[in-house]
């Protein structure tokens, strides 16, 4: 496998993440895209292609919503595409941007991710009613959290994981988010706060869950030649991977996210990483639920199976620890406008690797890994960034 050409990231932008923002989806997209362009000191006229990442139409409440959003993302008059892998879309959209540039077809690509979950009444959960197989599952009237609780329980039981160790993830991420200006749910909390929070679907409790949010994020991708014109400090996309497992999730063992492992192996191979825990300086695994961060660390081969909770309890994954995990504050702290939350992680990698993350800065950041997850506990998307 020889990759045709290297792809750089030269700009990033983000909005504030909130339960509801006044802006339309287009306007949110614009805010993020414009900030990304400004940060790269680039004009829209220099953008040759646009990728839009956004989760199901049923949130924004617009059929073919990427068509409606496109002018805000700078798509007017340009090749514009919406790749979609459910919750994995946020980290997948820069992968789609990557192939636009790596293929040689375009020199620049503006990648925007937008989510407006607030239009759905009475609660964004209502839009999840339609993600199920209408024959096997929908008649049971499921709630989305059911299936994650099933996965969490399987994971906890198999490795005998104490809930206290899982709760540490919420404490860490909400704490990290105190330094993120976009953050919706930054807070200084304790393990006891998590353990005493209301049980939603056992074993998932209130503070194990990230909130529904509105928000947008953006990245500017370009070829090496273009990157050199704009910056001395490009960040490189050196590895991409994605994998989708079977729809028949009740026929799979939920204890290990094989789909993340497959995606990670693909990305690491491309990035020539053979010892991930040593070669990765920090990671932003997808953390819509506390246990998911741990599950995904194992899927990303950054922890041995069943060992991520212990590593977390030992403080290894703190921002100043040996392997910082979610230095941004993650979805649990910054918020979860689904696709935008995934791209927020990639923005974080960009800022970390440029040494621009301010109070969130991780020491000696050389290689960062971002990952998202979605569909019916099914898809893994992984991107490796290097300075």
């Amino acid at each position: 496998m020889t990759i045709k050409r290297r792809v750089a990231v030269i700009g990033a932008g983000i909005t504030s993440f909130r339960r509801r923002l006044k802006e339309t989806g287009k306007e949110l997209s614009y805010h993020a895209a414009k900030m990304a362009l400004d940060s790269a000191e680039m004009n829209l006229s220099e953008i040759e292609s646009v990728v839009m990442g956004t989760a199901p139409d049923a949130f924004d409440g617009i059929h073919m919503k990427s068509e409606n959003l496109l002018d805000g993302a700078g798509g007017t008059g340009r090749p514009y595409t919406r790749p979609f892998v459910g919750g994995g879309t946020g980290v997948f959209s820069p992968i789609a941007g990557w192939w636009h540039v790596a293929s040689g077809l375009f020199d620049t690509c503006l990648v925007v991710a937008e989510e407006k979950m607030s239009p759905v009444q009475p609660h964004p959960q209502t839009a999840f009613r339609t993600i199920w197989d209408p024959i096997t599952t929908r008649p049971l009237n499921p709630n989305l959290v059911w299936i994650f609780a099933l996965e969490m329980n399987r994971y906890m039981k198999t490795y005998n994981i104490p809930k206290e160790h899982i709760a540490e993830v919420a404490v860490k991420n909400k704490g990290n988010a105190l330094d993120h200006p976009s953050a919706q749910l930054a807070a200084k909390i304790t393990v006891d706060d998590v353990l005493n929070s209301e049980t939603m679907v056992w074993p998932v409790q209130r503070l194990d869950i990230s909130p529904p949010s509105d928000g947008a994020a953006a990245l500017i991708l370009c070829s090496e030649e273009v990157a050199r014109k704009y910056t001395d400090a490009p960040v490189w996309i050196d590895g991409v991977g994605w994998s989708l497992d079977s729809s028949y999730w009740t026929n799979r063992d939920l204890v290990f996210p094989q789909y993340v492992a497959e995606a990670a192996k693909m990305a690491y191979k491309m990035a020539k990483i053979d010892d991930p825990p040593k070669q990765v300086s920090f990671a932003e695994p997808y953390d819509p639920f506390t246990y998911k961060e741990l599950h995904h660390m194992e899927g990303l081969l950054l922890a041995k199976k069943g060992e991520a909770p212990k590593m977390t309890a030992e403080g290894i994954t703190q921002r100043d620890g040996k392997l910082p995990i979610c230095p941004s504050g993650g979805l649990l702290g910054v918020g979860n406008p689904i696709a935008a939350a995934g791209l927020m992680k990639c923005c974080e990698a960009f800022w970390q690797l440029r040494n621009e993350a301010g109070k969130r800065q991780v020491d000696g950041a050389e290689t960062g890994v971002c990952q998202a997850w979605g569909d019916l506990m099914q898809v893994g998307t992984v991107t490796v960034f290097r300075r």
Partner: protein
């Protein structure tokens, strides 16, 4: 670009398919395509791409339901929430990066699963500015058709002739769902939807699935005796704001053609192209698209159509497959139906409707109301 289509698979297109689920439909098309290409999806194919939109399917996060029936479990799979040609060019780009040698691209329509098609289209309109009127969302096509006909002096009769031609062409397409012998009068007198757009000016919905196998140059030559090369490709979205539209010009088709033709070295489309499959979601769209693509001057398409130039035996056959009007409106899959026709013609496998010596063909698409998004690929039997 050095990417070729080396395998094709498809179901028939039908107005309804109560006997199979969308998964079983996709499975049939995929099985045929892999057989045609001589590949095993569990071993040989690197990436799988589906074009689908949630509300067409009736599932949120439809992406969940695609890997199994394509042989794609635990492989690189994604959905393009867009037009079939956008999925096709995504596959081509992925091959071009060097990441994959072989990629599968799928699009399908299970339109008959929708009980409220018009209501679903209405849900695509901007919720702030365009949903307050209680009118069939095809009013947008009505507005555009009037302005287009008024500016170009093409006529409603000529639009009706597009319908009769495409339904007639579909008679020789065994896959087509809506072949027919329909007179201009029968089109003209059909019920008005949004004047001047009548019922027969609108393509009827159909079900079906199409799968292509794409390969890099090296693999294509190994796998296929008749690889069909992607010589030019382009996709453009124009403003989604109806309020900023020109209403007569299909700007997206103009720009995609300029780009795709340049890539493929086409300077004189009428001469260099052997057949064209253009989007005909609405009858007038065929004329509008042909003009925008530069196949003829603005205002000329109606006249050339009357002269028979776009007939199967004319100078430049247009929608030999029957297009959406004759083969059926397969939603996001219709553009792959156009590509399928081009591939069959370029392989010389189009049977009774074979265009003689077909070497270069174009498939052009539009995503329908309310979008201004279009795509195009130029295909050739020679690299």
């Amino acid at each position: 670009m050095t990417v070729a289509i080396v395998g094709i698979g498809h179901t028939d297109f039908r107005s309804t398919t109560p006997d199979v689920s969308f998964k079983e439909q996709m499975f049939e098309a995929a099985m045929k395509a892999y057989q045609d290409a001589g590949v095993n999806p569990r071993k040989d194919i690197g990436s799988f791409i589906t074009a689908a939109e949630d509300y067409w399917e009736g599932y949120s996060i439809f992406d969940e339901f695609i890997p199994d029936q394509l042989g794609a479990v635990l492989r690189s799979v994604c959905t393009i929430s867009g037009d079939g040609i956008q999925a096709l060019v995504t596959g081509a780009m992925q091959v071009e990066t060097g990441l994959f040698d072989i990629v599968a691209v799928e699009a399908h329509s299970k339109a008959s699963d929708m009980l409220s098609f018009t209501g679903i289209v209405n849900h695509a309109l901007d919720p702030v500015y365009n949903r307050s009127m209680n009118a069939n969302p095809f009013f947008i096509a009505g507005l555009e058709m009037r302005k287009y006909l008024s500016e170009t002096k093409n006529t409603r009769e000529q639009c009706a002739q597009v319908v009769t031609k495409n339904k007639m062409n579909a008679l020789d397409n065994p896959l087509a769902a809506y072949p027919g012998v329909m007179s201009v009068d029968e089109v003209m007198k059909s019920k008005m939807i949004s004047d001047p757009l009548s019922m027969r000016d609108v393509s009827p919905l159909a079900d079906g699935a199409i799968v292509f196998v794409l390969a890099s140059e090296k693999k294509a030559k190994e796998l296929s005796n008749y690889p069909i090369w992607l010589k030019g490709m382009s996709w453009i979205s124009e403003t989604p704001w109806l309020e900023s539209r020109d209403w007569s010009d299909a700007l997206y088709a103009r720009k995609t053609a300029q780009k795709a033709f340049k890539m493929a070295g086409i300077t004189n489309p009428q001469k260099q192209l052997d057949l064209v499959e253009v989007d005909d979601w609405f009858s007038y769209k065929e004329l509008q698209h042909l003009e925008a693509m530069g196949v003829c001057e603005k205002g000329e398409a109606g006249k050339l159509l009357e002269q028979g130039k776009f007939n199967r035996d004319g100078d430049l056959p247009v929608n030999v497959s029957g297009g959406r009007l004759g083969a059926g409106n397969l939603l996001e899959a219709s553009s792959l139906q156009s590509v399928l026709e081009c591939v069959l013609q370029l392989r010389g496998h189009a049977g009774k409707r074979q265009v003689k010596d077909a070497r270069t063909a174009v498939a052009q698409s539009w995503r329908g109301v309310p979008t201004a998004t279009g795509s195009m690929v130029v295909l050739g039997s020679e690299k």
